[in-house]
């Protein structure tokens, strides 16, 4: 009866394991589950403050925007998370079009800046902006001085052959930041001139990183001289003590809109609405300062970090965020970029 005993033992062990894990299986929705695309320290601080100010429970899963998007789509038939937090506006727009988001108009809407209200309205309240960030670049002052390079001030400076192999930007195929950069340049310079500029700058790019913030972090550590990034990510490097100077390009520049949205069929819709109200309120948006984040909040009454880029120093262009946002638009931009920029001879 060896076999029987062995099978019995195996079975007992197996059942024990199942029991152990089932015991902590997904509970009935009492807390709000957030797919959080912020950096992990911000997500943690937000959760803590939410729980303290509202008395509600929140749990978060830290994801990149693309991961969240893939996950919400994969969970389409049985959503597990309530909130898609810090979604890129274009990503949230896609999900809304696919019927995966729930519209919600928060009572805090009236407190938001006009740009935020406009975007929420345009999107039929399937998303509400929580902050905006301005695109630009940063450079490593020590490396620049050591190599005796001129200070870059404008986008067009980045095509200067003096910066050969000194620039990093992200790959627009993998990073929303880089996609936004290319889209901004095309709208700033015109499509053909824009691709021509990018092809000239390509000679200076030593690496197209996967992640949108990798370039500026590499600049901070001295692995590259210039990194194209959002100004708030560039300032964050300076705040951490790295020798980075942040530049808002002289020709003017584009921006990103980051929103929060409720997932359709959320297990805890009540909690999801409470979360939305919280992150749109000054209390929720002021969390950014406590963890050294330099974005521009959407609520008029929220504070902005003293080190954050000043609106007066930044020239914003009129940007159509949706110009290349559709499936076809993305394909068009990426295939032209790949053929005319990425594969162009160096």
């Amino acid at each position: 009866m060896r076999t029987g005993r062995w099978m019995g033992r195996f079975l007992a062990g197996f059942a024990g394991v199942l029991g152990l894990f089932a015991g902590i299986a997904p509970a009935a929705a009492q807390e709000v589950t957030v797919l959080c695309n912020f950096e992990v320290d911000w997500c943690e601080a937000l959760k803590t403050t939410y729980e303290r100010t509202t008395g509600q429970k929140a749990v978060f899963i830290r994801r990149t925007d693309g991961e969240s998007l893939a996950q919400i789509r994969a969970e389409r038939s049985n959503p597990r998370a309530d909130i898609y937090h810090a979604a890129e506006s274009a990503s949230a727009k896609q999900l809304a079009a696919e019927g995966l988001l729930e519209a919600y108009k928060s009572p805090y809407m009236a407190e938001l800046h006009d740009w935020a209200q406009r975007i929420a309205e345009e999107n039929k309240y399937f998303q509400t902006p929580i902050y905006t960030g301005v695109l630009g670049f940063g450079y490593n002052t020590e490396l620049l001085a050591k190599k005796k390079l001129p200070e870059p001030k404008c986008w067009k400076d980045l095509a200067n052959p003096a910066y050969k192999d000194e620039i990093q930007m992200a790959n627009p195929g993998s990073s929303g930041t880089a996609f936004n950069t290319v889209s901004t340049i095309l709208q700033l310079m015109g499509e053909d001139a824009g691709f021509k500029f990018l092809a000239a700058m390509n000679k200076n790019v030593n690496q197209y990183t996967r992640s949108g913030t990798a370039g500026i972090r590499a600049a901070g550590k001295g692995e590259t001289t210039i990194g194209i990034a959002f100004l708030h990510d560039s300032v964050a490097q300076t705040a951490q003590g790295y020798p980075i100077k942040t530049v808002a390009p002289c020709e003017g520049t584009g921006y990103e809109i980051i929103s929060s949205a409720i997932i359709k069929g959320a297990p805890n819709p009540e909690g999801a609405r409470k979360w939305m109200d919280f992150v749109l309120s000054p209390a929720g948006q002021n969390v950014a300062i406590t963890v050294n984040k330099f974005q521009i909040p959407s609520n008029k009454n929220a504070q902005t970090h003293p080190m954050a880029p000043k609106a007066s120093e930044v020239k914003l262009i009129k940007l159509d965020l949706d110009k290349y946002g559709s499936k076809e638009g993305r394909e068009y931009l990426l295939s032209r970029w790949e053929n005319e920029v990425f594969k162009a001879p160096k």
Binding site: T3, A22, I24, P26, E39, R62, A70, E223, K327
Partner: protein, 734 residues
């Protein structure tokens, strides 16, 4: 248990008693356990007892059938009732086998049909709603009742087949094969095929052959310097380097008297117990443009720092560093297991030590070398962290797949196509390896007494091995010194003030009113990773070694296909496995998303292959006549496995346990999509912190993990012990 060759009445009766136990379990599942998965507080919280057994949500199948009129459970009742006939009448074996096979198949087919006919919204096929009536919304997935019935039906089927002579009529072997196939099918074939079917869909979700054609014929992936070329080049380079280095280490440990042997053992395992991200980070700190080496070179010789580390050289270095220990673990058991008698024979024939090494020792290690090569190659292809961090503009398949899923143009179909290409590469090598090793004997552990001395390495070979291994060991040491130091510096690269701050942030503990508060940010993910790894490691090792035994020692129809199946999950990058698990297990019939089970399942079925390979490599050395001797003494196949084969496979068991524990602790790509608020993993936490520039925290956390894993490895060694082959130790050279 019966003797393999001659079916006997006693054996089949005993087999029937085992069937009886399984049937009892099946009936328990059918009549008592809740058929559906219980959401909410879970099974062990016993809250389900409040509404059990009459409420339809917690009711067992029998209650659903009779009280709620769910007629579709009827065939299951029949399938569980029929086998009882076998006990009532003194039936002939042939009839009994027919009854068992028939009822087993009926049960399994009904179960699968129910699983796929009812999804979360109710009936998936409208006409069924008219026949059986509408179902309430939000249908829960299959639960413990279904699991027990499935197990009973499967075992009835396997015993029926064994009675007909399948697997040489051995009921234990038949049951084990059946269970393995079912588990691998459920946790590998099912999720992966769900993802792979997407290759047929275009981006709007319609079946399209044009999309299929464009995905595979896309010129960018096949051209020279394209993603397939890069991947293959990297895989082969890493596999060669790691296998050669691992061989050096294994030879030094097994065949020399150098005092550094112990040290090598520990050191060689170090890179593997390190979260991959951290080694890459340390490499940048060392060889990056602003790294220590470049700074020294520039200061001393005025060499302008370059970015050579970003690209093929960097990824190759990092992968070789990380995978050499994997190859070492596979190899060392093989090298130690080589019987000195053959070498002694060669020397008696007046072959020199070098010649003996080249013509006897080395060829005998071929299966180990081939297995090590295969594993490293496949792991290099599936590796995601290193190419991501150090790849520069080098594009490889695993990264391309990840960004096909999460990039700006989300296209799971393209990801599926690339994953199929990657799988094809891995499996091609697997087939070549099998061809090369087929029909050659590598047996060196036999029942005959071992009266030979362990042969020391020829001096020339020792020199080469040391020459290769030493610089490598030094490099590894420097990297570890950097990682450990990193946790104590205020800010890596900026502020060299010493601090314990990072350890407090990560692992702080407060005692308030006599109760312990785990205030550190790392605790939650730390305990989760530890629990998941501790649960999955023994399961992985047991399952892998069991399959190794089945493949290496048993003959059964469909063996080739079965072996092929076991390679699938390992050959795929973690991201692919992760996303396919989410697609397959998020919604009924099987709901595992956001639980710990999905993580354990992912690790068990991904890492099982390594245990299996280590087990197979070790089994090819053990003479099957030892098994036969055991069988002659009327020991059953399970008894033989337990008392003869397993003790001789101790190094393989250690390798399997160590590898699967470590892999569960350090893996990242597979779990990106599988972590959930309650199941945050250590590696994910470390990467998240490193991303925001908290290298101190990240390296402090990594150091703690490394120390913990060293302790775990030592513990495993002590618990499993070593095998005694009765080889004489060589006399200590004066």
């Amino acid at each position: 248990m019966r003797h393999p060759e001659e079916p006997g009445d006693e054996g089949s009766r005993r087999g029937l008693r085992v069937v009886g136990l399984w049937l009892a379990l099946g009936w328990l599942g059918f009549a008592a356990l809740p058929w559906n998965a219980i959401g909410g507080p879970g099974f062990t919280a016993f809250q389900w007892l409040a509404t059990w057994p009459l409420d339809v949500r917690t009711a067992p199948a029998a209650v659903q059938l009779f009280k709620h009129g769910r007629l579709w459970f009827m065939p299951l009742a029949v399938a569980l009732a029929l086998p009882l006939l076998v006990f009532r009448t003194r039936m002939q074996d042939r009839t009994a086998s027919r009854v068992l096979i028939g009822s087993g198949l009926l049960g399994l087919v009904t179960l699968i049909a129910i699983a796929f006919a009812i999804d979360i919204t109710g009936w998936t096929w409208r006409p069924l709603a008219e026949i059986f009536g509408e179902l309430p919304r939000r249908q829960p997935g299959l639960g413990y009742g279904a699991l027990a019935v499935a197990a009973a039906a499967l075992m009835a089927l396997c015993h029926g087949l064994a009675l007909r002579g399948w697997a040489k009529g051995d009921a234990f072997v038949a049951g084990a094969i059946g269970a393995s196939i079912a588990l691998v099918g459920l946790f590998t074939l099912y999720p992966i095929s769900r993802l792979f079917l997407r290759v047929l869909l275009d981006r709007d979700g319609n079946v399209s052959l044009a999309a299929l054609q464009a995905r595979f014929a896309g010129s960018r992936i096949w051209e020279r310097g394209g993603v397939v070329w890069n991947t293959l080049q990297l895989g082969l380079m890493t596999a060669v380097a790691a296998t050669v280095l691992a061989l050096c280490f294994a030879l030094i440990v097994a065949r020399t008297e150098l005092p550094a042997r112990r040290f090598v053992r520990v050191l060689s395992v170090l890179p593997m117990i390190t979260p991959p991200f951290v080694v890459g980070l340390a490499l940048i700190m060392l060889f990056g443009r602003a790294g220590a080496v470049n700074a020294v070179l520039e200061h001393a010789f005025g060499i302008v720092p370059t970015r050579w580390i970003y690209g093929l050289p960097g990824v190759w270095l990092a992968q070789t560093l990380a995978l050499t220990p994997v190859a070492y673990l596979v190899l060392v058991g093989v090298v130690e297991g080589i019987s000195p008698t053959l070498e002694e024979a060669a020397q008696t024939l007046r072959a020199s030590r070098l010649r003996t090494f080249a013509t006897v020792t080395l060829p005998l290690m071929a299966p180990g070398l081939a297995n090590a090569f295969l594993i490293v190659f496949i792991e290099s292809l599936a590796d995601f962290g290193n190419p991501l961090l150090l790849g520069g503009n080098l594009e490889v398949l695993s990264v391309a797949i990840y960004f096909a899923i999460v990039g700006v143009q989300q296209d799971p179909g393209r990801a599926a196509a690339l994953a199929i290409v990657l799988l094809a590469l891995s499996l091609t090598l697997f087939v070549i390896q099998r061809r090369l090793l087929a029909r050659r004997g590598f047996v060196t552990i036999s029942g005959r007494s071992e009266n030979a001395n362990r042969l020391l390495l020829p001096r020339a070979v020792t020199g080469v091995a040391l020459g290769l291994a030493l610089p490598w060991a030094v490099l590894a040491l420097i990297i570890y010194a950097m990682i450990f130091a990193g946790g104590f510096f205020e800010k890596w690269g900026l502020d060299r003030a010493l601090t314990l701050r990072h350890y407090v942030t990560a692992f702080g503990v407060d005692v308030v009113n006599g109760s312990v508060l785990w205030t550190g940010g790392a605790w939650s993910s730390f305990f989760t990773s530890l629990t998941i790894a501790a649960v999955s490691a023994p399961l992985t090792a047991a399952f892998g070694l069991l399959i190794a035994y089945l493949l290496g020692r048993q003959q059964f129809a469909g063996k080739g296909a079965f072996e092929f199946l076991t390679m699938l999950p390992f050959a795929l990058p973690g991201t692919v496995v992760g996303i396919s698990y989410i697609l397959a297990f998020n919604a009924p019939p099987i709901e595992l998303a956001y639980t710990g089970i999905i993580l354990v399942a992912c690790f068990v079925f991904r890492d099982m292959t390594t245990s299996l390979r280590a087990g197979l490599a070790s089994l090819t050395q053990i003479d099957p006549s030892l098994d036969e001797a055991s069988a002659t003494m009327r020991a059953g196949s399970f008894e033989t496995l337990r008392r003869v084969v397993l003790p001789l496979m101790r190094p393989a068991i250690v390798a399997a346990l160590v590898y699967s524990f470590i892999s569960a602790m350090t893996s990242i790509s597979a779990v990106i999509f599988l972590t959930s608020p309650r199941f945050d993993m250590a590696t994910v936490n470390i990467v998240g912190r490193a991303e925001v520039g908290e290298y101190g925290y990240a390296t402090a956390y990594a150091s703690v993990l490394i120390v913990l894993m060293v302790l775990a490895v030592l513990l495993i060694r002590v618990l499993v012990g070593t095998r005694d082959l009765g080889q004489r130790q060589p006399a200590v050279a004066g």
